[in-house]
Amino acid sequence: ELKVEQNPLFLSMQEGKNYTIYCNYSTTSDRLYWYRQDPGKSLESLFVLLSNGAVKQEGRLMASLDTKARLSTLHITAAVHDLSATYFCAVDGYSGYALNFGKGTSLLVTP
């Protein structure tokens, strides 16, 4: 069974602090996706990591992929309140063109 595990599932952090969200997966996929979901809203694509060692950055978020360790990280630098959201990672699934999603990490950034 394909598993995608995120940790932590809930994260409360102060503005200005740094933190990392981890995504472990059980398949040999070399592609990994990060999405953001604001409360009550749909999912927005953040990063697509297509190979081992891939690193992408946008603003205060940086994502990386280690396919050998089957691990991706989403690093938050100097958090601000606008980053409060739920973050999902996903990997290529076994069936068709589907993705398998983690359960999501709910991030709350407080003053």
Binding site: Y33, K41, L43, S45, G96, Y97, A98, L99
Partner: protein
């Protein structure tokens, strides 16, 4: 550029009533299409996906069905809703041919009473 639409945005239905949710994509041809459900505070559950007109794959046995009558139209239906069908229904598309990055519609929030 591509856009994806879903309607209705919100829906409140009684148990046992039928359901029809619609999703359309603009600006691309032959997309792969997906229906997901997200229960309150939960992750995403893939319900159906389609790689072409009339081609539907079901991921989870349930009282829901899907159809793809046109290239860029995806419909989720039920003949009789259950309380457990409540949730946030998301339609998504990806480029055909192997790229799996998915782009999500705005969603339909369904409450079954």
């Amino acid at each position: 550029s591509q856009t994806i639409h879903q309607w209705p945005a919100t829906l409140v239905q009684p148990v046992g009533s039928p359901l029809s949710l619609e999703c359309t994509v603009e600006g691309t041809s032959n997309p792969n299409l997906y229906w997901y459900r997200q229960a309150a505070g939960r992750g995403l559950q893939l319900l159906f996906y389609s790689v072409g007109i009339g081609q539907i794959s079901s991921e989870v046995p349930q009282n829901l069905s899907a159809s793809r009558p046109q290239d860029r139209q995806f419909i989720l239906s039920s003949k009789k809703l259950l309380l457990s069908d409540s949730g946030f229904y998301l339609c998504a598309w990806s480029h055909g041919g192997g790229s799996r990055e998915q782009f999500f519609g705005p969603g339909t929030r369904l409450t079954v009473l």
